[in-house]
């Protein structure tokens, strides 16, 4: 059983291209539909937890399902399954990247790619900012709905980062603590 699960999670790892949300339908198919290890309601709960906690959603689900079936051992096996394809593929890519990156032709191609990566990170930042300030990341929001405390935390955090180079984790953690206290007061 645990071996079957290991194979399932290898498939999840192998076919989820493009980050967390691409993995959700794959996990659902493998765990809920094929192996019937969870009900749909439990799976929805799992997604909720995964969104609330740090870490990639596929690692979170692998740990959750694995723990249920075989305790800590199960969690480790399932997580290994998710990681294994990434590990092999990225190791190979890393090898080729560091072997050929200094060729001027490769540099020219990579130079065209880098600005796009900056844009992708910027878009991710906008989505999270929208979620933080308006509680939604799609375009139908009203500026009047802005959450003042979050907006202040964002501006304050950005100021501290740019002006005083404060540690990033301190900013994330600090905004959680200060924000919760402010909401408790007001």
């Amino acid at each position: 059983m645990i071996f079957k699960l290991f194979l399932s999670f290898i498939q999840v790892g192998l076919f989820s291209v493009g980050g967390g949300y691409a993995a959700i339908p794959l996990i659902q198919q493998q765990i809920v539909e094929v192996h019937k290890l969870m009900t749909m309601a439990e799976f929805t709960d799992l997604i909720t937890i995964a969104e609330m906690t740090p870490g990639p959603i596929s690692i979170n689900s692998a740990t959750f399902v694995g723990t249920r079936l075989a305790g800590a051992f199960g969690a480790v096996i399932c997580t290994l399954g998710v990681i294994l394809p990434s590990f092999c593929i990225c190791l190979a890519l890393a090898y080729f990247y560091y072997k050929y990156r200094n060729f001027s032709g490769v540099q020219t191609i990579l130079s065209a790619l880098r600005p796009a990566v900056v844009a992708l990170i910027a878009s991710a930042g906008i989505s999270i900012l929208m979620l933080g300030l308006f509680g939604t990341d799609n375009s139908n929001f009203a500026f009047s709905d802005i959450r003042v405390i979050e907006a202040l935390l964002f501006v304050g955090g950005l100021f501290l980062l740019r002006k005083y180079k404060v540690n990033a984790i301190a900013i994330i953690f600090g905004s959680g603590v200060i924000g919760t206290i402010l909401y408790a007061i007001f």
Binding site: I49, F64, F87, C90, L110, S111, A116, A122, A124
Partner: protein, 203 residues
């Protein structure tokens, strides 16, 4: 020019190389433990840690790693850790970095799966997680401002244009990241061919 900068960083002969593995583990562990909200968040934090703080990687390298991590199957933080670890210490480095990245979510989920009901209904936790997003957004914006500045400094309209178009397409039209990356590789290839042709004509 950038290549020279890269080669200064830690080499296998470095007397402190055990220290490097430990630092690698520590850094990936903490980044993973505090990173809410998807692959690009952790990439921003990695850029801050490994490029700005530790000086182990160049900014260009970090962007390349991000592109490879995004286009490969599997979770982005894991993919980025594999490449980053390989860069620092070969396969052992990869193993250590992946261990550092996967341990925090594993421990947290194992604990939470036991206390799930209490966790979900706890208003303080829910509140903290909501307001924390403002801090996460601030960190990403800080990183993006630095990155975008450097793209503008290249003074090549091609790069500045690509950045702007890619931003509009992903942010407003929700075009997939993989498609953007593949298109830019294609544009890079064309740019290379044009470049080589020009060179051939002048020679």
């Amino acid at each position: 020019m950038e290549q020279n900068v890269t080669n200064q960083s830690v080499q296998p002969t470095d007397p402190q190389h055990k220290h490097v593995l430990w630092q690698l583990f520590k850094a990936t562990f903490f980044l993973s433990a505090f990173t809410f909200g998807g692959g690009f968040v952790i990439v921003s934090l990695m850029k801050k840690k490994f490029v700005e703080e530790l000086g182990w990687l160049t900014e260009d390298e970090m962007l390349d790693i991000t592109a490879i991590a995004q286009s490969s199957p599997g979770p982005i933080p894991i993919n980025a850790s594999v490449i980053l670890g390989y860069r620092m210490k070969g396969i052992i480095g990869s193993l250590i970095a992946v261990l550092g990245t996967s341990l925090p979510p594993m421990v947290i989920i194992s604990v939470i799966s036991v206390f799930y009901q209490q966790f979900r209904e706890n208003a303080v936790i829910a509140m903290a997680l909501q307001v924390m997003r403002a801090g996460v957004a601030a960190v990403i914006f800080d990183v993006v401002i630095n990155l975008a500045k450097n793209v503008c400094k290249t003074k090549r309209y091609l790069y500045i244009g690509l950045m702007t178009i890619a931003f509009v397409l992903t942010c407003f039209f929700k075009v997939s990241a993989v498609l953007i990356i593949l298109s830019c590789v294609a544009i890079g290839v064309i740019d290379l061919i044009v470049h080589l042709k020009k060179k051939g004509e002048t020679a």
